[in-house]
């Protein structure tokens, strides 16, 4: 356990030295700030059917597409490229611990960025108190639900990113690959809905329902306080699955 903590600290240090992760973080925060200002302006002009908080969280996929590849691409691909991953393998620590350590660090970084992004509504409330008085701005229950879904889906997205990073020796190509994987996941719900419409009938079993795969509906449910355990099971199982695949891939790279 002590070694695992040292490993995590070192991985966090390496992530801190990575310029790509800083650029990704800056782009993420800029995108979230811009999005929030845009939504705020829209909500002050016209009455909207859904809460600003829900609309804010539902746009989570845009910055996630930026930040997940930026954080994860360099974690393994860069080190496989310059062979410094081999120097980790000769340490008295299991490969699964290395993988878990990297996942934890990347996950904590992702969640901390979202925690900073959550300060935007609070800052707006402090700077423009008159807006907060006229409409329910960012209810705590909605913020907690949205953040919980961010945390749940984030673990899955980071695992996808790590898997892509373990496949290749180029961080650029693995970044593009994880971007493609994430985009496919975000669009899968809508894609299935289109396919079902073309087919004229549903796919059958409930787990193939397009709504089940629709991340935007999932986010909306979480923001409204509707917790579907199947969604939780899906993301946790997906996380484990991609971590397992990443483990297999890393194990194939000889020391």
């Amino acid at each position: 356990m002590k070694r695992f903590c040292f490993l995590c600290a070192n991985e966090a240090r390496l992530l801190g030295y990575s310029s790509v992760s800083h650029i990704g973080a800056a782009a993420f925060l800029f995108a979230m700030g811009f999005l929030f200002l845009f939504l705020l302006e829209e909500y002050t002009r016209f009455a909207q059917s859904e809460l600003l908080a829900i609309a804010f969280f539902k746009a989570f996929w845009i910055p996630s597409l930026l930040i997940i590849p930026a954080i994860t691409a360099s974690l393994f691909a860069e080190r496989l490229g310059d062979r410094s991953f081999a120097s980790l393998r000769i340490l008295p620590i299991r490969l699964s611990s290395i993988l878990l350590g990297d996942w934890l660090v990347a996950y904590a970084y992702y969640l901390s960025l979202w925690a900073i992004a959550m300060l935007f509504p609070w800052m707006a409330q402090v700077l423009f108190p008159e807006i907060g008085r006229s409409m329910p701005f960012f209810p705590l229950s909605c913020a907690l639900g949205g953040y919980a879904f961010i945390a749940l889906s984030g673990s899955f997205f980071i695992a996808i990113g790590l898997f892509c990073s373990s496949l290749l020796r180029s961080s650029l190509v693995s970044g593009v690959l994880s971007f493609a994987f994430l985009l496919a996941h975000f669009l899968s719900g809508e894609g299935l809905r289109q396919l079902e419409a073309l087919r004229g009938k549903s796919f059958g079993p409930p787990f193939l329902s397009p709504d089940f795969y629709n991340v935007f509906l999932q986010m909306e449910d979480f923001c409204r306080g509707i917790i579907d355990t199947r969604v939780i099971a899906f993301y946790l199982a997906g996380t484990l699955f991609f971590l397992f695949l990443a483990h297999l891939m890393l194990d194939r790279h000889s020391v």
Binding site: I90, L91, P92
Partner: protein, 346 residues
């Protein structure tokens, strides 16, 4: 370099760790085999290394050197055979490899983003150095390897190849292992850096058991007490340079610069027909001749040749040079012999 301050700690630790273990034998390898698919990387090799020895691993590319070293370090599993460190089997107790061995991999892969000090502290913690003594331990190792003043705050990516190799050696020495394995440590170094590296190994010679793999034969010859030559996964030679010379290149040559006519040389050849003679060149104007005498490289023969040369009255010896088989000659002879044996069997 700061060799004078070499600590007693590795020796003390070794003594305490070796209680109850075999005191003399650091490594024992028995019938070790490893395949990669159809390719036989290591083919039933056996050898042992005594504690405190500096052993050189030689072999052409693909001979199985790195694979053997990785099996020793517990990074690869052997398909057959047994590896024991201080009497304990690595297969039965995989942790002993990381406890006893410090390893520097081929090409010395290091994370370029980290600074030398923080990288070594991280490695020391991971190798189980107590948290309260990590700074002290790393500082000491950095001083040994001449990194403390020149490189401790520098990022690894900005270091020269020579300093990177030193970081690799420093990393291998962290945690005071008893066996240090260095895979191609002098590759890419300039002659000055190679000399510094040699001094580094010399300074640690009595404190650790070294296993060094290299392509640079002169380095192995200069540093190592014993040499193992691998060829196509087989151990084709094992011994110190004298033993290997005796086995693979038993001839020595004495090149003489003589003052005398051709007849006196011919008379000498007829008097001592047991040796081979080669006339190299003659300077008729200066009345000097050059002749090479090939003889068996052993003490008795050498004494006989020297006595014969200096007791012969019909010439005057102006100069002489003795040429013995270099490690390169031995290496080529050993690999050629293995190749010939294989061809005969095939």
């Amino acid at each position: 370099m700061h060799w004078a301050s070499l600590s007693e700690e590795p020796c003390q630790r070794r003594r305490s760790l070796q209680k109850g273990l075999s005191l003399s034998e650091a490594i024992r390898v028995e019938s070790l085999s490893k395949r990669y698919g159809k390719l036989i990387a290591v083919d039933g090799i056996s050898f042992s290394v005594q504690a405190g020895e500096v052993v050189g691993f030689l072999g052409p590319n693909g001979a199985g050197k790195s694979t053997t070293l990785k099996i020793l370090a517990g990074l690869l599993e052997a398909e057959a055979g047994r590896v024991a460190l201080f009497g304990q089997s690595v297969a039965e107790n995989p942790r002993i490899a990381s406890a006893h061995i410090g390893l520097m991999l081929e090409n010395n892969p290091l994370p370029g983003k980290l600074r030398v000090g923080e990288y070594l502290r991280f490695r020391a913690r991971m190798k189980g150095v107590a948290s309260e003594s990590v700074y002290q331990h790393v500082e000491k190792i950095m001083r040994y390897c001449d990194l403390y003043h020149k490189a401790r705050h520098r990022r690894i990516t900005s270091l020269s190849k020579g300093f990177r190799q030193r970081v690799g050696v420093a990393e291998a020495l962290l945690g005071s292992p008893q066996i240090v394995i260095l895979d191609e440590p002098t590759i890419g170094l300039d002659p000055h850096q190679v000399l510094l590296f040699r001094q580094l190994i010399e300074a640690f010679r009595s404190h650790y058991t070294f296993v060094i793999s290299s392509h640079i034969l002169s380095e192995i010859e200069a540093i190592c007490d014993r040499i193992l030559i691998l060829h196509q996964g087989r151990l084709v030679a094992d011994g110190n340079i004298v033993q290997l010379r005796r086995e693979f290149a038993p001839e020595a040559t004495l090149v003489l610069q003589l003052s005398g006519d051709a007849r006196s040389l011919q008379a000498f050849e007829q008097r001592y027909p047991q040796w081979n003679y080669r006339r190299l060149k003659a300077d008729l104007l200066a009345d000097t001749q050059q002749m090479a005498i090939d003889f068996k490289d052993c003490l008795e023969e050498r004494r006989a040749v020297w006595e014969a040369i200096f007791s012969y009255r019909d010439w005057k010896v102006l100069g002489l040079e003795e040429k013995r088989a270099t490690l390169e000659d031995i290496f080529l002879a050993a690999t050629r012999r293995h190749w010939d044996e294989k061809s005969l069997k095939g």
